[in-house]
């Protein structure tokens, strides 16, 4: 049996498969469900300062097995309510990473302070929601903003801080570099890719919010590209997110440079059983390749790789 355990920002994980933020993360009981099903850890829904219902429905549009759009609008019960859910999960032994979102560095810092008291093993800063006015990409697409937010949070808390980076940027690696400089202990990449679907019969966007975020297999290559580029620029560990639904997918992310991964859309329909299935598949592919420790493959695809020139002699 290959060893699937990894260390992420100093935290030992039994396996690298984390529940992605926004999926099954509203109730402590669901977090427990993901953990019991085999997740190596869970990331909470992104929590803000106040209760927020999110956008009206339709909030999701599934167009195929390979892709889905959502614009939930960051619904969350607020930082005053949510800790009870985390505690329920913690009491069960779940390793919980607390995700927060805010509109300013001060708001992030305040939320971080409160979140850090709930027993989370780390914080994930959502700097990357593509469809929430004033939050998300707006604050997460400028390296200076990223640096400021991360610095403000790191100053407040002792737990490791992970910055979740948007793919909707000219150079996601630049954002990761800014986060590292400001003291982040890890990078998550990516959040959803900005997308839209129109119903042509009605001549209107399907999602109530119009613009949403694309997730699922369609964005796997986008997430891999981000992880690849970030790995070449930072020392801190990377959590790969985007389109993962098999053990092979996890291995691609690990070889691109990820130390752990998050799984989101693949939980739809199949439920958290997906963690057990993927862990098994990962086990099998590692055995097939004669590798006994997943950790040894982090960044393996970079070894010996050189970018060729386009002017090679014809």
């Amino acid at each position: 049996m290959p060893d699937l355990s990894v260390e992420l920002a100093g935290i030992p994980l039994r396996n690298p498969l984390l529940l992605a933020s926004g999926i099954w993360g509203e109730s402590g009981r669901s977090l427990i469900g993901a953990w019991d099903a085999g997740a190596g850890g869970v990331v909470t829904k992104s929590i803000g300062s106040r209760p927020r219902p999110g956008y009206p429905n339709p909030t999701v549009e599934e167009f195929d097995s390979w892709g889905m759009l959502n614009a939930m609008g960051l619904p969350n019960p607020g930082i005053a309510e949510y800790p009870r859910e985390i505690r329920a999960a913690r009491d069960h032994g779940v390793l919980v990473i607390g995700s927060i979102f805010g509109g300013t560095a001060e708001e992030f810092a305040r939320l971080a302070r409160e979140m850090a008291t709930t027993g989370v093993i780390a914080l994930e800063l959502n700097l990357s929601c593509p469809h929430a006015e004033g939050f998300g990409t707006e604050i997460g697409s400028d390296p200076k903003d990223v640096e400021e937010v991360v610095r403000a949070v790191v100053r407040e808390v002792k737990v490791p801080v992970i910055a979740k980076i948007t793919p909707n940027a000219a150079d996601p690696a630049e954002l990761a570099v800014a986060a590292e400089r400001a003291g982040a202990k890890g990078i998550s990449a990516i959040n959803t890719v900005r997308g839209l679907a129109i119903d042509t019969t009605l001549a209107r966007p399907v999602l109530a919010h119009g613009i949403g975020g694309l997730s699922g297999p369609a964005i796997k290559s986008v997430g891999l590209a981000a992880v690849w580029q970030i790995y070449r620029r930072v020392q801190i560990p990377i959590v790969g997110v985007g389109g993962i639904s098999s053990g092979e997918d996890v291995l691609e992310y690990v070889m691109a440079g990820a130390r752990a991964v998050e799984i989101g859309t693949a939980v739809a329909r199949e439920g958290v059983r997906v963690f057990g299935r993927i862990a098994q598949e990962l086990d099998r592919v590692l055995s097939e390749r004669g590798t006994d420790r997943l950790g040894s493959l982090v960044g393996a695809a970079h070894r010996g790789f050189e970018i060729p020139t386009a002017d090679f002699p014809p």
Binding site: G22, I23, W24, G25, E26, S27, R29, S30, I32, G33, K45, P51, R52, P53, G54, P56, N57, P58, T59, V60, E61, E62, F63, D64, N70, M72, P75, N76, P77, G78, E81, Y82, D199, T201, L202, R204, V206, A208, G264, T265, V267, A268, R269, G271
Partner: protein
């Protein structure tokens, strides 16, 4: 993926309840629900009140802003449908007691009809606040069910709550299964009655829904997600859940009293 359909038929079932029929080819089973998109307004989970044939149906009770506003939409209105989602009623029991409260009867009717067509005995206890609000009593009688009604105000049938009628029927006859849908306090009562008599019960429950795909956690109920693990649960299971009959989550995920 939404399919845009036109409301091809519209029946005012009660002063506060409308049924829409619409063409929808996906196979659907009693107990399942669809997400109904009212373009420009909201998208709501609705149990299928008609599951057979090319025309499916939903029966909508005016509860809040959208469900109130849609009561008056004319036939020809275009709506979006996705689904069906969720699980279904077990149609194998041969002697079924159906206990419906208010618009809860909507989800019970197509299953009762199918069971009757396959030779089962179906007894229905239908409750409403008042006579005019009784749902599908005629439909179920016509389908061959024995139907008993109750109204809170006594304008029809037994005065009082439908749980009393259900208890009496349970005492009188012998049943293999009880199906129920309605307010959770009512369902809890029915579930306890069934348990005390050792009869299997199934209840269809509602929680706030967003994705209907088992992903967003909006509809979580204990360890379950109503959109994929439900909406039909064994009443035993429901009774074991601290939240059942007591709390739900609002759209932000906060726990609120039912």
């Amino acid at each position: 993926m939404h399919r845009i359909v036109e409301i091809e038929d519209r029946v005012l079932e009660t002063p506060s309840t409308v049924t829409w029929r619409f063409p929808y080819a996906e196979p659907c089973a009693p107990g399942q629900f669809v997400m109904v998109w009212i373009p420009g307004d909201d998208e709501l989970p609705m149990s299928l009140s008609y599951t057979d044939g090319p025309s499916k149906g939903v029966t909508i009770k005016a509860m809040g802003s959208t469900t109130r506003h849609v009561q008056s939409l004319p036939t020809g209105t275009r709506i979006g449908i996705r689904g069906p989602y969720g699980n279904r009623f077990d149609l194998t029991p041969r002697r079924i007691l159906v206990v419906g409260g208010g618009s809860g009867t909507a989800v019970l009717a197509p299953g009762a009809e199918q069971a009757l067509r396959s030779g089962a005995q179906v007894t229905c206890a239908l409750g409403a606040t008042t006579e005019l609000e009784l749902l599908f009593a005629k439909r179920l009688t016509a389908a061959g069910a024995r139907v008993e009604v109750s109204t809170d105000d006594g304008t029809a049938g037994t005065p009082g709550f439908v749980t009393a009628v259900a208890d009496r029927l349970l005492a009188e006859g012998s049943f293999d299964a009880v199906w129920t849908c309605g307010p959770e306090v009512m369902m809890r009562k029915v579930a306890e009655s069934a348990r005390s008599r050792g009869i299997i019960g199934y209840g269809s429950v509602e929680r706030h829904m967003k994705c209907a795909l088992g992903m967003c956690d909006a509809c979580s109920l204990g360890p379950y997600h109503v959109c994929v693990d439900g909406p039909v649960f064994r009443t035993e299971t429901l009774l074991s859940l601290e939240e059942f009959g007591r709390t739900k989550r609002d759209p932000s995920g906060r726990r609120v009293p039912l």
